[in-house]
Amino acid sequence: MAEVVTLNTRSATAGTATKLAAGPRGKKPRPMLSPRNIMIYGALLFAAAYYLLPLYVMVVTSLKGMPEIRLGNIFSPPVEITFEPWAKAWASACTGLNCDGLSRGFWNSVRITIPSTIVSIAIASINGYALANWRFKGADLFFTILIVGAFIPYQVMIYPIVIVLREMGLYGSLTGLIIVHTIFGMPILTLLFRNYFTSLPEELFKAARVDGAGFWTIYFKIMLPMSLPIFVVAMILQVTGIWNDFLFGVVFTRPEYYPMTVQLNNIVNSVQGVKEYNVNMAATILTGAVPLIVYFVSGRLFVRGIAAGAVKG
């Protein structure tokens, strides 16, 4: 670049003939169809096709009738579009004796996800705030245990939690599951909030202290309004994470409270009856729809969330 620029300034002082030879400034534009570009875009398009294929297959299968599925192949578009599988998956697919479809699981998941998200974010943001601005003796030790705990396989801690919840009379209830989600969401969310609050200018906090504001006043009046973006990131992280959870749902709730993922698995992998692949795929899309919508709407914030939340695995 630098050489090109000096060449151009020099040529400006020279005659018109050299000016023409020097040509326009800046990088030489690459032709769109260079072999290099064909390779890059070819590889990217190939990869994109691989990633999109399952989504395509899901949608296509869910719109076909069973006779068409038995005859055709899974990649062919539906000849006769039918929404019956969707209706059946939502309202009348069977898990064991219950035949009220995925709708129950959906509402259970809603009832689990909303309070879990709110409670876990509320607690974790206060933790992060305390760690960033009001560090007390030993706080770092607890925080370290918390972060190390994020790497411990859940299976190691599940049974003690079952006992604790049983003692509290909450085992099997929605409240119990909400507590579990709050516990396991805590490491990553606390880390997220702690890092964010530490990055805020300290003068702000000091000025509020001088003005006589206390722990809660500073949190609600200054920190909270300033950190809306990080709350959104935390929300995306929690909504998708909790919605997609399977293990906690199956361990900590009774069948009538099973979240959507558990119910979906029970519908699709049930051994009784004829397999209705179109209904299965419609049910699968319905279960994946919420996190997918969150993902497509949130865009860059989601990327930020997973970069922070990747530790969760």
Partner: protein
């Protein structure tokens, strides 16, 4: 440090009281659940608890039984195969995609959205979709056969010897987008001047990547490695959805072993011993990393 105002009060406990009260949930979670729960499980893995945990110690009996159980050995073998291939492929594919994305391409956002969307889906959804695609009667196998290759055979989910690779395909589909994102962030963090210097020296692009850029991205690679590895040890939902451990027990994994023994076979002792083994596996991955990452420098 910042919030402590020394009023000269003698009582250490009352200092910063609000902060301490607000941190009670965190302290309880860290100490009771994470630390206490882990120790409790390890402790009870030395007992012969069946339906309920009880304190009758049997030494290492549970572990001996565990390592003699064919199902556990298959689980470990599966985890090893799945783990090694999943690490290699997700790092390679993730890095290649990131390198392609870093060529100042158009529609970068579109491509990123496509590569990452599976990561937003649950393992259950992932497992069920791939179960369908790999279905021998209707899926890829039958499609290829209908194109004329009548002897074509690709049926991982019903072939015990290769079933774990069927799960691997699904896992890679779900997880490589994340690796790509982490790698892309790493590539973007590399100084433009390095590239210019390499170009001036006439080093071909692949050599620049292999010998200059990748060594510079060491930290990113290690973090990614730890993330993938701790995810591998936990793999559970995907197997449950895609194969339920079958055919037979050929796609069992340790996390499923733990769950089944704790909550279905009413054999808590085995479950605790197996979960302790999972803990040890994770410790083997995490401890050296934590030592490298945090051991060297002092914490602020």
């Amino acid at each position: 440090m910042t919030g402590q105002v020394n009023t000269g009060r003698p009582n250490q406990l009352l200092r910063n009281l609000h902060s301490k009260i607000a941190s009670i949930p965190m302290i309880l979670t860290a100490v009771v659940i994470f630390l206490g729960g882990t120790l409790w499980t390890v402790f009870y893995s030395f007992t012969n608890s069946k339906l309920l945990p009880r304190l009758s110690f049997v030494g290492l009996d549970q572990y001996e039984r565990l390592w003699a159980a064919p199902r556990w050995l298959i689980s470990i073998q599966n985890l090893a195969i799945y783990g090694v291939f999943s690490l290699i492929f997700s790092l390679v594919i993730g890095f290649l995609l990131a390198a392609l994305m870093d060529q100042k391409i158009r529609f970068e956002n579109t491509f990123r959205t496509i590569f990452l969307y599976p990561f937003a889906l649950s393992f259950i959804v992932t497992g069920l979709v791939w179960q369908w695609i790999l279905n021998p009667e209707f899926g890829i196998q039958s499609v290829v056969r209908s194109l004329g290759w009548t002897t074509f055979s690709f049926d991982p989910l019903y072939t015990p010897s290769i079933v774990i690779y069927g799960i691997l395909i699904a896992a890679l589909w779900q997880g490589t987008g994340l690796v790509m994102c982490l790698m892309l962030a790493g590539l973007r963090g590399i100084d433009e001047d390095i590239w210019k210097a390499a170009r001036v020296d006439g080093i071909p692009m692949w050599k620049t990547y292999l010998f200059i850029i990748i060594p510079m991205m060491r930290a990113v690679f290690i973090t990614t490695l730890v993330i993938i590895a701790s995810g591998i040890v936990r793999v559970y939902d995907l197997v449950v959805a895609q194969t339920s451990g079958g055919p037979g027990i050929s796609s069992e994994v340790p996390a499923k072993y733990v769950y089944d023994y704790m909550f279905q076979a009413q054999n808590l002792g085995q479950g605790f011993a197996a979960s302790t083994m999972m803990l040890i596996t994770v410790a083997i991955i995490i401890v050296p990393w934590a030592y490298l990452e945090f051991g060297g420098r002092k914490r602020g």
